[in-house]
Symmetry: C2
Subunit: 435 residues, 2 copies
């Protein structure tokens, strides 16, 4: 049996298996590979698996975990059971994990490992290497080592590679770099991910406000962070609350709840369209032709708004656009909206003229109807583009998540205002003819 492949297959199928199937599969893995397999599961899956195993075994598996991973697992347990899980660890680990549990899961503090390689600046390169060699088994990574003073203040960093290619008789102080990219315990994990992406590092040290070193965040944890943050943003952009579990694993009612909330809010907002339409009921009764173009016009506003809001939200998330850039964006989107609106207006006008030439569905006032639709399209697309690009700024300005300015949210906003724009232009253009 090619075990490497089959372990990977089990990992792939894992999300779709029930608790009993999982337990059976896990029992079937040879012991020497079961450790690796366990370590590759997500914290949620590890916890579920442990819960299915007899209590006597908890200790063995839990002690395989690095302190940051143990903390992640324990954080997922119901609050009342956390102490029990914690007690399964050895004393040092209990202390480390308790400290980590104090941080929020999505902060640098919640991602960091306290088991980093510490050096004294006056050590020689040779001493440092043999020290690291002895410690290798207990450390999260030996690829960066950190020079600290007596007060645990971070003085410098040496990559293992630098240490390794340096003259053995030099001191750590001679070879260490002192310009260090650091982060703080309460830094948001998105900000930490940006640092990794910008500097291409394998690990970043976490320091407190006194510059005392607390731990390191390693890049392998960041890949997951980036994926999770993107999933959250994408789900919010789709007009719902972010799910807190994979789609196929989350409970049915929990998922419905995450979707129904926003859908109901959008529905209530969209009710204003019925009110707006009711306000123009007389106009529609006199010129039913006006009603025909309502979906076309409001959806164009929604689509252009969706594009603008998506672009701005993503650019904010990856740090390309900051709050202070709003004026640049509004000018750019104003020009974009004008161009896009004109493109759609041209297509729309052509469509009406061609249809009229062939089937004559719009009566003798077709030119003025065509112009009403064209001008409304420009107005609505322009409004959609500006509203879509500015909403994320407004949300962020008030400390809310810009990603809540989802495509459906912007579309709803633009639907109501689009109707007002359309019927206003219509009542100006068509007064004396159709109205």
């Amino acid at each position: 049996m090619n075990t490497a492949t089959s372990l990977e297959e089990i990992l792939e199928r894992w999300p779709k298996l029930g608790a009993r199937e999982r337990l059976e599969m896990f029992r079937a893995i040879p012991r020497e590979q079961a450790d690796d397999f366990f370590l590759e599961l997500s914290s949620r899956d590890q916890l579920d698996l442990l819960a299915a195993l007899p209590e006597g075994e908890h200790r063995i598996w839990l002690r395989l975990l690095a302190p940051d991973d143990a903390a992640d697992l324990i954080q997922l347990a119901p609050p009342g059971q956390r102490q029990n899980w914690l007690k399964q660890l050895d004393e040092t680990a209990q202390r480390e994990v308790s400290a980590l549990l104090a941080y929020k899961e999505d902060e640098a503090g919640g991602l960091m490992s306290p088991r980093f390689a510490r050096l004294r600046p006056e050590m020689t390169v040779d001493e440092a290497i043999s020290y690291l060699r002895r410690q290798a088994g207990q450390l999260e990574t030996i690829y960066y080592a950190y020079a600290l003073d007596d007060g645990q203040h971070l003085l410098g960093v040496v990559s293992f590679r630098d240490l390794f290619s340096a003259d053995k008789s030099k001191t750590v102080r001679d070879v260490m770099r002192t310009q260090i990219v650091t982060t703080t315990e309460d830094a948001d994990q998105e900000a930490v991910a940006k640092l990794f992406s910008l500097h291409h590092l394998l690990a970043i040290p976490v320091v407190d406000s006194e510059k005392c070193m607390k731990g390191i965040v390693t890049v392998d944890d960041i890949v997951d962070v980036v994926q999770e943050e993107a999933s959250e943003d994408i789900q919010k952009l789709g007009g719902m609350e972010a799910l807190d579990a994979p789609y196929l694993q989350i409970g049915f009612w929990r998922m419905v709840q995450k979707r129904a909330g926003w859908l109901a809010v959008l529905f209530v907002g969209e009710m204003l369209t019925a009110t707006a339409m009711g306000y123009y009921e007389q106009e529609i009764a006199r010129a039913v032709v006006l009603a025909l173009f309502v979906p076309l016009i409001i959806s164009s506003g929604g689509n252009s708004g969706s594009q603008a809001t998506t672009l701005v939200i993503r650019a904010m998330a990856v740090g390309e656009v900051k709050l202070r850039d709003w004026w640049r964006i509004i000018r750019r989107e104003f020009a974009t909206g004008l161009v896009l609106g004109s493109v759609l207006a041209t297509i729309g006008l052509t469509r009406i003229l061609v249809w009229q030439a062939i089937w004559k569905p719009y009566g003798e006032d077709y030119v003025i109807i065509g112009l009403t639709v064209a001008c409304s399209l420009i107005g609505v697309v322009l409004f959609g583009t500006i509203a879509g690009s500015m909403l994320p700024f407004i949300l962020r300005r008030f400390g809310l998540d810009p990603a809540s300015a989802s495509a459906p949210f912007v579309a709803t906003l633009v639907d109501v205002s689009g109707l007002v724009i359309y019927f206003t232009i219509a009542s100006i253009f068509l007064r004396g003819t159709l109205l």
Copy 2:
């Protein structure tokens, strides 16, 4: 001057600077930090900067780059100029980079570095360590070393850490792991990112179909890959082509082009709503009240479709959902659509009854109007949910990118069918009363 901070500031401001300002800033950086700074720029920014520097300097900067980074840069240059850039490299690098240029940018081959640490399985641990020590300067990473046979076949991998804590007299074969996660040269970069996320590795070896080792992909490059892929998906979900440069850097007309294409396609699709509405013009003329609820009903379908398509596309992108899961998803989304539709129907019916009780806007047939709206909502939301969840499967089945089933695309599809559902239900319910 705190240079660490100020280099970071320059990096942050870089995207917003013009070519001349960039050159001036770059010149102002002390030479010993300019190297680091140059290496932290994106390939696109490196190329732009080099193009602004006198030709005599190209060689110095280009030779700072690892082969995979040099290949990325050269790939961005206009095809006619690539040979010139290539010639600036030393001979070994020219060979390596030419080999890498044969791969597509978004494949594992395009991400990999050929400068990995090679060991022979019969070497002792001690020999291996001192060999790595000598090579450290030329390698992409020394943290994993790969044991190859004479034919360059990959036999095993040792982490430097394992080597370091092992008995010096053992051989590489004794300590190496033989169950290795590998990828192939033509593997899509998204698939490679999934491997990193699943196995928490720092590097993954790339092998060809004969299991000969070609290079390694390192995790620090994957953080960027994950960000880029998420950005592309998010932009497609917003109803446009993915931008190929950051929002603030891409040219105005290029961005308009990326947005206008899809917007025009959606607009032409949405024109069918005018056709559908025209088909029901008589009904609208007789019962204008029907027109009032058109935006409310079709947008509800669009919003629920947007949720479903977003969820499924993201679950596919991160590998939670496969093509073969379509039947599970359709059952789940059918149930979801029924529940969500019923929620909105209840709110909608309540709204109509309350408005009628207060302002009496809907005439004496308000109950039947309310039921028409409620039933249409259930039908439209159900249709939107199923269409939104299945479209990504259909696209993928035909080899297209599921992310093209954007929220606006689904909304457009649902708008047209939503109108048909609404007016069909209305003509059944209202026949003999309003119609």
